[in-house]
Symmetry: C2
Subunit: 141 residues, 2 copies
């Protein structure tokens, strides 16, 4: 999986949209920064004051672990669009070595996290499938 | 609703991510271009060859009308981030005046559609709630 253009494109993208399902069955979408740890995708709830939204994604994953993470790039030249979607199962991890490894990967990818690493729970997504469309060359952004 | 900064920001954004729920309960996310028609959001399946993905969103909405559309803008300056999310109920419309009105709004917003207007089904989203976060000034993109 790690050698496909879609995986590489996903690993390099700077932001994604995490889609989850609320306990009442409605979909929920929120932008997230994320990093890859082996074949998993990790994203954290950071140090900012928790809002309903941030708690919502955790409640959703705990209720229904199925998640979909989409990274995409819009251009006015529609021949140059691309998107990558990873579907998988999320787990909320609050502490321990998996949590520490996720924070380490996020801090390595995002300079913004270096000044203040996220301290909240992490969602670890075990990826079942990656789909991609469009121009997925890593230099195409 | 139409006078809020979140609504304006949503109307001006060029791309969104449409989150729906698959018949098996898993979330699904796909990038979409969209336009506002009064207080509804419309998006179309265009003339390109239909892929599984394009059909998937229609099957999802027919099975579960609850949708969530997220527009967001990523910047490396995390103090300048914003997102807007519209939650509502989607309906697949294949023809008739609502379909025509949706196509008209999409063509008006996207020059790319003028050359070849989308001819497939339209999803019309009746918005129940709009939530926004961050710098929602229309000139902040």
């Amino acid at each position: 999986m790690r050698t496909t253009p879609a995986f590489t494109r996903l690993a390099l993208a700077r932001v994604g949209v995490l889609a989850t399902v609320r306990p009442d069955g409605r979909p929920h979408a929120v932008p997230v920064v994320y990093a890859m740890v082996d074949d998993t995708i990790v994203t954290a709830v950071d140090h900012k004051p928790k809002s309903t939204t941030r708690l919502q994604r955790l409640a959703n994953v705990r209720s229904n672990p199925q998640v979909s993470l989409l990274a995409q790039h819009y251009r006015e030249d529609w021949t140059a669009l691309w998107w990558v979607r990873a579907d998988g199962k999320g787990t909320v991890v609050e502490a321990g070595p998996t949590h520490a490894g996720a924070i380490e990967a996020l801090v390595a990818k995002y300079e913004q996290y270096r000044r203040r690493p996220p301290s909240g729970p992490v969602i670890v997504i075990a990826v079942d499938q990656i789909a991609g469309w469009g121009d997925l060359r890593p230099d195409a952004e």
